[in-house]
Symmetry: C2
Subunit: 323 residues, 2 copies
Amino acid sequence: MKTGGKQYAVGVDFGGTSVKLALVSAQGKIVAREKFVTADAAGQTAWLGAVAAAIDRMLAVAKLKKSALAGVGVGVPGFVDFEKGFIHDLTNVPGWTAVRLVAKMQKKLGLPAYVDNDANMMALGEIAYGGGKNLQTAVFITLGTGVGGGIVLDGKVYRGAFSMAGELGHISIERNGLASPQGRGGLEQYIGNRRIVEHAVQLLKAGRTSKVEALCGGDLDKITPELLAIAAHDGDTFSREIFDYVADCLATALASVTYLLQPQAFIIGGGVAASGKILFDPLRKHLAARLSPHFAKRIKVLPAKLGNDAGAVGCAALALMSQ
Amino acid sequence: MKTGGKQYAVGVDFGGTSVKLALVSAQGKIVAREKFVTADAAGQTAWLGAVAAAIDRMLAVAKLKKSALAGVGVGVPGFVDFEKGFIHDLTNVPGWTAVRLVAKMQKKLGLPAYVDNDANMMALGEIAYGGGKNLQTAVFITLGTGVGGGIVLDGKVYRGAFSMAGELGHISIERNGLASPQGRGGLEQYIGNRRIVEHAVQLLKAGRTSKVEALCGGDLDKITPELLAIAAHDGDTFSREIFDYVADCLATALASVTYLLQPQAFIIGGGVAASGKILFDPLRKHLAARLSPHFAKRIKVLPAKLGNDAGAVGCAALALMSQ
């Protein structure tokens, strides 16, 4: 990543449950961390105060002055207008509709500020400093309750014409598939955590058997993707089939993205991605089968590396790149 | 479109059947044209000679000197390496494997030269001077025997990490759909000209009736998308259903592209697109139904305007932009 003069920045990963902050060097190293519970700083004034105090504490720990900071980046769970530094609305965080966050932060902190969608920031973090380090053009996808993503082209976050691009979870993999408010056949409707579990439970109730039944103590309501992964690693045929299905659904969407954007790589993060080779092996196999050789031989599928730090690190990267 | 100092360029649309040249102004106006049969100038030396002679004739017609030209752009039906000015291979044109075309052209013509994929050049032509004029970020799709496309982001052709991006015809709309060398469920397998006709013929053979049967004189082998369009415009229920199906398949792919890239608009060209409202009305309806309101209200679907000139005009636009 090319960065300008100042060698540090702060990233703020603004989640519905907690706000995680990191003081990050231009080499991508976290030199200090802070965290507070979102509900403990409800409303904009309290939130800005908590962020300012956390930044002061991190600067003290790192023995740095505020003047060492290139700025502060914030990643939020919702729709933003990046150019205007404006939050349209946040999912699951009350009191944040139509907020000029960048202007408020710059006034409160006396530092350049930036606000972007959280998935974009995870994408930038992973591609600047994580699983996609040294890549210029890559697509990040995170697998969790929701399926999200972000696109980095020529080293910069691609946001589309109205700041909303990169919604990989809504790519359709079945024209007449499962309906949602976002359309039909959206990837998230097949491989979001709950959908994976529902699919497994449905098959088990229909008579399939699996080691996962013992792992959840016979209570199918306790099945999670993690338990399915444990069973799959233990050689359970049923759980491996579930991961093969997840991998093929994901490969269908990633093949479409490859034909459209031809990135250097996909970086896969989130809980399900932590399952490792039981996901990545079938994913690479199905993706190659769904592409012509010209495309298949040039695309890489790589695991994310930054885990829960990706968002905060990406936010700091944005501030470092933007100075 | 921003262009530099010189106010004219030549575009060369290198097709398998004919080579069409246009001398184009920075305002997108064609001031002279030339054309020759591809087979009449077989091989690289003959082709370069025919192109050079055609450029001289166009300059004479337009009363311009070669020094008025920003350069020459060529669009080819096949895989190229844009950065290296290199043709990997052309579809349906023998003798053009592994050719350093840009170097050869610059030597022969004494002008800056560029080579790109033909669909990219059509996209650039339409977005610089045609249906997408004044747009910065738009996706072009052409409907014909094949389904191709090109992407313009921030006014520039987006080519991906290895010059092959923009293959919209291979976006999958059905995970378990029709197989092809490019994967499964690719859009082209549903709405390429032959597939549209096959689909119609299959339904007619199964007992459906349509005005198109009279239009083709009872010979179902003579059905074309054009005849179906005539019948549809004439109120034929069956043909309208066929176009509704084509529109929904296309909308499935375009919804995925919208979630991924959020362009300002799609520009739709090619033979089937000339069908007009019988395609565009259901296309806009299905696309809106497949998107959340945030995305639906911001995306436009526009007809291409340059017809068969799009490629040559786009090639000239590339040379004008690159000076």
